[in-house]
């Protein structure tokens, strides 16, 4: 019990605003990556970055408001992210085998 409060106190050394700003920055980097990078692997990485910035935000709030529910959610998000990565990477491999590239703009046949 004592350990937990100690840890909380240590975490609260950094003000909440800093966590929030960090998360926003991370999220925007991720979003920019998703929107601008053309390599599918990079896009994937950026998505993971966005997910994790959200996770970080949730955990930070959890600590500051003494509410463990958010941490449970974080675990769910991690599981979903892992599953998504498994499926997504498998698709990526198949795409590479078919079109010999991981360029996102090569996949523009589905239109009109």
């Amino acid at each position: 019990m004592n350990d937990v409060t100690q840890l909380q106190d240590q975490l609260r050394l950094v003000p909440l605003e800093h966590y929030v700003f960090l998360c926003i920055v991370l999220f925007c980097i991720g979003l920019t990556g998703v929107l601008l990078r053309r390599n599918l692997i990079n896009v994937f990485l950026s998505i993971e970055l966005m997910l994790n910035s959200i996770n970080l935000l949730a955990v930070a709030f959890s600590v500051y408001y003494n509410d463990p529910n958010a941490q449970a959610f974080v675990f769910f998000i991690m599981v979903v992210a892992a599953a998504e990565v498994a499926v997504g990477l498998a698709m990526l491999v198949m795409i590479y085998r078919n079109v010999q590239t991981v360029d996102i703009n090569a996949l523009n046949n589905l239109k009109w």
Partner: protein, 626 residues
């Protein structure tokens, strides 16, 4: 109630299995349903007497809203039971007759399906206890009439005739509907018995009542073929002859009479309407009678005669003699059905010949038909003791009470009937044979299935008048007493001596005209064939061409309607409607043509759009929703 259901079962059965049935079993089965319902009606009839209250049979609520409640409910009283007897009785006779007449027709079971459906709707019409249900039956019989006139649909002329009947009926029905709406607005109910009470209690202005009754009357003129909506009936003869007998002589065309008798409590309060009805009825009667004298198609003559007789009934209705009109309706149903079926027998025997100029001396070849047709003729020209005599004499004496002028006019209409019916009879059954030798060899008497109904109708035509014989002739006016709960008895003020004199005068004039007709068509062997070749006076030509009424309607109403339609077609349709409808299509085409360019297949582009969208939604939430 089983009575109307049985014909419906018959119809449904034919619809589903008609094509699998053999001709013989199809005819028998169809007749069986009607005969069965006739006997059920008969049982019901014996349970009723003149003092028993109306039986209401509530089947289900049909239309049920806050202030409009229309039950699907039958009302069986003295008036409707007699109509039901008439419909099922004459209906079953004509069904039996049709098994012989329609023998070998490819649409045999279709014919019986329609006929059964017709009986069903007609029963609904007379059994309904409110105007809306009656209107349903009213439209239903109109539909069946249309289907049966156009029964031989491969001939385009028949289709035209069917359309004409349907459209002209629709005009009448529209007015009837207006009348019903007004009635509801005024009295708040459609149910006959409630209506009767509400009217007795309310102090509505006579103008409104006159207006309502006039609208109802116009509806009745459509169905019952009166001026100005009578032109469909002669054309309706394009249908098979049993249909002409059942629908266009005995039952459906009397629906208008029934409507007025049923709502006599309304009409009794509108003296102006009554005068109009009297006038229209009498005019129609004389007008149609005049036209009938120069027609050469055996069925057309009978059709005009039907119009003329219906006119006489309306004449009586207008005089307030509801009982007399209803009585004439019954006897007319008997002898006109007999005449039509007799004509059908002649046509059948001559293999489809309908022009009386190509007949003659048929009494030598078709003894039974000749005899029974003669009975029908004697009944319609109102010779005692045949049924037509009682009913016509009844109307005539009531007309005399109102005014001797009415009496003379009605007698004139009756004398016209004598002339054209005897002309028809003599030309067809007497004189020389004018058929080709080939046809003469093939003339045959009709089978028993056709003669038996003729025989029964013949008996009814002879004795049917006794149900309402006046005191003068040892009768007791049974019919008028029987329907007295619905129609109050019309008191007769005439002294017996006057009545005898009137009767004698009418009999004398009838015999005089009969002898003249005999002179013209038998002794001098005058044949209409020669007539039409000769250059007649313009008046005769006018009659022969039916006073050009059809042409008048065509040029005045038809043409102007066509002009109006063309006008709307060029202005409204092309300029407005087409612009709107086509414009909608072109607009969406144009828009989608441009929008589809955004769907370019680049995933990053989509993602960017998605991010923008999320951003937009968040902005809205933050700045507007919070």
């Amino acid at each position: 109630m089983m009575v109307p259901t049985l014909p419906l079962i018959g119809f449904a059965g034919y619809l589903l299995y008609g094509q699998y049935l053999k001709e013989k079993s199809a005819g028998l089965l169809a007749s069986l349903w009607i005969i069965l319902s006739f006997f059920l009606t008969l049982i019901l009839f014996f349970q009723l007497n003149e003092s028993s209250p109306a039986i209401n049979v509530h089947l289900f609520d049909w239309i049920n809203t806050d202030d409009l409640n229309i039950p699907f409910e039958f009302r069986i009283d003295q008036l409707s039971i007699i109509m039901m007897l008439l419909i099922t009785g004459v209906g079953s006779l004509i069904h039996i007759y049709s098994t012989g007449y329609m023998h070998g027709d490819e649409g045999f079971s279709r014919f019986f399906a329609y006929l059964n459906l017709f009986i069903f709707f007609m029963l609904i019409l007379v059994m309904a206890n409110n105007f809306v249900l009656m209107f349903a039956g009213w439209e239903g019989v109109g539909l069946c009439s249309y289907l049966l006139i156009g029964f031989w649909y491969k001939d385009h002329e028949n289709n035209k005739a069917a359309n004409k009947a349907f459209i002209i009926n629709r005009i009448g029905d529209l007015f009837l509907l207006f009348g019903l709406f007004l009635l509801y607005k005024q009295f708040g109910t459609f149910i006959f018995s409630d209506l009767e009470q509400n009217i007795a209690g309310s102090m509505s202005s006579p103008e409104i009542l006159t207006f309502i009754t006039l609208l109802l009357f116009i509806g009745a003129t459509g169905k019952s073929a009166q001026i100005p909506l009578y032109t469909w009936l002669p054309d309706a003869m394009a249908g098979p002859t049993p249909v002409s007998a059942l629908i266009h002589a005995a039952t459906m065309v009397t629906a208008g009479i029934y409507l007025i008798v049923r709502s006599n409590f309304l009409f009794a309060l509108a003296p102006l309407t009554n005068e109009i009805i009297t006038f229209v009825g009498l005019t129609t009667s004389i007008f149609a009678g005049v036209i009938a004298t120069k027609q050469n198609d055996i069925k057309k003559i009978l059709a005009y005669s039907t119009i003329s007789q219906l006119g006489l009934m309306f004449f009586a209705l207008g005089l307030g003699a509801y009982g007399a009109a209803f009585f004439h309706l019954l006897t007319h149903a008997f002898f006109k059905a007999l005449l039509f079926l007799g004509a059908g027998s002649v046509i059948h025997g001559l293999h489809g010949e309908q022009d009386i100029r190509n007949m003659g001396n048929l009494k030598k070849y078709m003894h039974y038909t000749h005899l029974l047709f003669l009975i029908g003729v004697l009944a319609i020209i109102a010779l005692p003791p045949f049924s037509g005599f009682y009913s016509k004499d009844n109307i005539l004496s009531l007309a005399y009470i109102q005014s001797p002028i009415w009496w003379i006019a009605a007698l004139f209409a009756g004398l016209l009937t004598v002339f054209y019916m005897l002309r028809l009879y003599f030309v067809v059954f007497w004189g020389k044979e004018r058929m080709s030798q080939d046809t003469i060899n093939k003339i045959h008497e009709s089978p028993w299935s056709m003669l038996l109904p003729l025989l029964i109708l013949g008996i009814l035509s002879v004795f049917g008048g006794w149900i309402n014989a006046p005191e003068l002739l040892l009768g007791n006016k049974w019919l008028e007493h029987f329907i007295s709960p619905i129609v109050s008895i019309h008191p007769s003020h005439l002294p017996h001596s006057t009545e005898w004199i009137l009767m004698a005068v009418s009999m004398g004039s009838i015999l005089l005209v009969a002898v003249m007709t005999y002179q013209k068509y038998v002794s001098k062997a005058h044949v209409p064939l020669i007539e039409s070749n000769a250059k007649d006076g313009s008046f005769v030509n006018l009659i022969r061409n039916k006073f050009y009424v059809d042409e008048l309607y065509e040029s005045v109403i038809g043409k102007s309607f066509l002009k109006l339609s063309q006008f709307f077609n060029s202005i409204f349709e092309n300029q407005v409607v087409r612009r709107i409808t086509d414009g909608t299509g072109q607009l969406s085409l144009y828009v989608s043509e441009n929008i589809r360019k955004t769907q370019n297949g680049f995933i990053s582009y989509y993602l960017f759009a998605m991010a923008l969208g999320v951003l937009g939604i968040l902005t809205i939430f933050i700045f507007f929703a919070l």
